[in-house]
Amino acid sequence: MSAPLGAVVWLLLGPALLLAAGPWLDGFGRRVRARLESRRGPPMVQGYLDLAKLASKEGLVAVTNPVTAAAPWVALAAAVTAGLLVPLGGATPLGFAGDMVVVLYLLGLSAAAVALGGASGASAYGFLGASRELLLLLLVEPVVAGAFLVVGLQAGTFRLGAMASWELANGPTPASVLAGVAAGVALLAYLGRVPFDLSEAEQELTGGALVEFGGRPLALFRWALFTRWLVAAWVVVEVFVPTPLRGAAGAAASALLVVVLFGVLSVLSTLIARLRIDQARVFLVQIGLLMLFAFTFAVMGA
């Protein structure tokens, strides 16, 4: 398949694939958690069922302003667009120089849209949830970005496809292993899962940033969240644990790794109590220090 044709196909197929796969992760994560809790758990398709139920409800909003209306769409569109740039089975149909930076920005934008939506309402819970979301984003973004930067520095490129090929060719280096661990641990916070679900924290903020949303807007936010989980886990897998397989086999292998990574994260998420914002800050700063070590190694060329 020629490159432009591949790009067109991916442009058409990619969004559908990303949107279709995200909710499955939710069902999977809930099943993992249920098993740890000695429960049977919901069916694997629960993520889809929830979205369908929410979408069928009336989308009542307390305030109507352009930000509130646009935020769910921005969150979803940013997450999907980021997903289109991630390598799949060794191919990067839409890749370009520096696409790593764009992916990180888009994922950040998707999270920031949730905070914006929360802050645009009139609820104290929404405000507090939004402020926590932004604070957490400020803390976790440098860690994740730094980890990618480490591989980028070593590979001499910020193009995701090229970074993955370099990692594959030059094997795991001390720097990339450290950076990979830092990124993996930070993912829990990046994905807003317990113990870092501070911006929603049902028992403290009754849903926090999302408290004012219901029906279709809420479904969009949830869908954006699922997509963000998928894309973030996917890009970490592609860059830090690339598979030598190509084509469909490569895509399948990566998908398996994403499921494994997400499963591990779900286990951690089940077994840790929610942190307070100051405790989350201390934890993320420590992970940041780990990342700085990786950075030093990378600069030294190790």
């Binding site: 924290a201 049902e202 840790i272 929610r274 100051d278 405790q279």
Partner: protein, 575 residues
């Protein structure tokens, strides 16, 4: 083991102390039962007398009770109830109040924990409280007229005054703060109550509480309509999770007033059921507390571990909750050899699983960090607020009605009063976990006692008519702290006055004290939860088909099948 003699030696000593401490304020001293002292003091001397008791003799404040004695040719009356835990004596200061212009001086400036009790007397009896620091209405709903007082004897129990009276004003938020409302309905407040938090960013600056949204007026109902033994069903339903403590405390208060002696086997059975209740309640609390912290793993596991206890309760009493074990003068059923066997069997499993769960919690740094140094509550604050139970014992205050004022069979049982010096949410957690294991020990001792005594003899002879206008005050150590019931017998077949004080009545008043400066919004739900405010659980489902006029009750297995398959399970014939 606590050995309490039935001699009046201790109450003699307390009486002597009171005579010297109260001096000329003391008008009359009455000791109707061993370990009970009632002192009459003049209205104007009541604050001085309270000071002498609370500050001089270090008595623990329990509750204040209002009475309407106008029908007997007297006026109103206020009883300030105290407990001298070291001496195992309960005492009350009796303050007469004029019927024409009823008012008494406030004792809240001396004992902050008396605030609600005084306001309740003001709302329900119309006795004005002079000098109360926050005289807003407490119990009466918005719109209820200011000059109608439901607990007065001339107010019919079913009267419905027009709701055109005043509403309760809210405290305005201090300048520069945002107001966050927890409640009246909030995910972790299972009962309707409202906490308005004044926050600066994430930090709490102040709070304003409003409760009593679903006041059920059960005291009025008991005082007007119900005979003694029917009040028990009502008492049992005060709480959905520890109802037995209320029916026990009520029965004991009536028994004390009527001078009834409960047979030994019945007393052992009361202790047994109460400890079973405590064990399941503490496991339930552990789950809820962890759920508040987003730690649903423990929530699910601890409720799974608890389930065999609920099945055991159903096996022993016929009901998972609301055991209906008590009757004035004894208990309604025996715990037979088969039941004793089942208790021991269940305990083995529950203890093993609880140990495993607790072990994993103690090593959990994330959890410990969330709980330690949060919700600080000093021993002096415990005293001032009258807090009881794990809320007090988590601050190293070893108050426990089972040891201090033994009832049921606790004088024959050997147990530890678990305390912790943490004074924080972690301390209260450790205390409850420790108590769960103590309860298991106590259950085994109760079974051993039952085995060694002949079956039968569960109720003492109760006369047709109980002596009238006699008083009893009794406490039971509930899972959440001491439950206190005051009963004054009536001239008919039911009580003239029945005052219930649940432990949460004092403990919730103490929560604002625990929200020290620097507390964040994230700490509020768990600090509230750390006093274990209670809620009612309905785990059975009844299906009513209005069209077909049919009714069907699903059991646990059928509900499980229904939730798993999404289809109504087929009927298994009549059972």
């Amino acid at each position: 083991m606590t050995t309490i003699t039935t001699s009046t030696e201790r109450s003699d000593r307390v009486a002597a102390h009171l005579v010297s401490a109260l001096g000329e304020h003391l008008l009359h001293l009455d000791r109707p039962a061993p370990d009970r002292v009632y002192c009459d003091v003049a209205r104007d001397a009541c604050v001085a007398a309270v000071k002498a008791l609370f500050e001089g003799l270090r008595a623990r404040y329990v509750i204040s009770v209002g009475l309407d004695r106008r029908g007997e040719g007297a006026g109103f009356e206020v009883l300030h109830c105290f407990a001298m835990d070291d001496e195992h004596v309960r005492c009350a200061l009796r303050v007469p109040v004029s019927a024409e212009r009823p008012s008494i001086p406030s004792i809240t400036p001396v004992i902050p924990g008396a605030s609600w009790a005084e306001l309740e007397i003001r709302d329900l009896f119309g006795v004005q409280i002079e000098g109360h620091p926050d005289p807003r209405r407490l119990v009466l709903p918005d719109g209820f007229p200011d000059d109608v007082h439901p607990l007065r004897k001339d107010f019919p129990y079913n009267a419905k005054p027009a709701l055109d009276g005043p509403s309760r004003p809210f405290t305005p938020a201090p300048p520069g703060t945002t107001e966050m409302r927890l409640g009246p309905f909030f995910p972790v407040l299972e009962e309707p109550s409202q906490w308005r938090l004044f926050v600066d960013g994430e930090r709490i600056v102040g709070t304003d509480y409003r409760g009593f949204y679903s006041h059920r007026a059960i005291e009025k109902l008991a005082e007007t309509k119900l005979p003694y033994n029917q009040v028990i069903s009502l008492a049992e339903r005060i709480c959905g999770i520890c109802g037995c403590v209320h029916s026990t405390a009520y029965c004991q208060a009536v028994e004390e007033a009527a001078g009834l002696v409960v047979p030994r086997r019945a007393r052992v059975i009361r202790s047994l059921v109460l400890e079973l209740e405590r064990l399941q309640s503490h496991l339930l609390w552990l789950g809820i507390a962890c759920h508040i912290l987003g730690f649903d793993f423990v929530f699910q596991q601890s409720w799974r571990v608890r389930e065999p206890l609920m099945n055991l309760a159903e096996h022993l009493t016929g009901s998972r909750k609301h055991f209906q074990v008590n009757v004035v003068g004894g208990v309604t059923f025996d715990v037979t050899a088969a039941g004793q066997e089942r208790i021991l069997e269940t305990l083995t499993g529950v203890e093993k699983e609880t140990s495993a769960l607790v072990k994993s919690l103690e090593g959990d740094q994330a959890l410990v960090q969330r709980l330690q140094h949060v919700g600080m509550f000093t021993p002096e604050e415990v005293r001032l607020s009258g807090a009881v139970g794990p809320t007090a014992r988590g601050s190293g205050v070893p108050v426990d009605a089972r040891r201090d004022h033994p009832y049921a069979a606790y004088d024959e049982l050997d147990f530890q009063v678990v305390t912790h010096d943490g004074c924080d949410n972690w301390g209260r957690t450790v205390v409850r976990i420790g108590e769960a294991f103590e309860s298991a020990k106590l259950l085994r001792q109760c079974v051993a006692l039952l085995r060694d005594m002949p079956e039968g003899g569960l109720v003492t002879h109760v006369p047709e008519r109980l002596p009238s206008l006699r008083e009893g005050m009794h406490g039971v150590e509930a899972p959440r702290g001491e439950v206190f019931h005051y009963v004054r017998t009536g001239s008919g077949t039911g009580p003239d006055r029945w005052r219930v004080r649940a432990p949460s009545y004092q403990n919730i008043q103490a929560v604002p004290t625990m929200l020290k400066p620097g507390t964040t919004v994230a700490d509020v739900p768990i600090t509230l939860g750390s006093v274990d405010p209670c809620f009612s659980c309905t785990e059975r489902m009844e299906v009513l088909d209005v069209g077909a006029r049919s009714r069907r009750v699903l059991d646990a297995g059928e509900i499980r099948d229904l939730s798993r398959t999404g289809r109504m399970p087929p009927e298994r014939g009549t059972r």
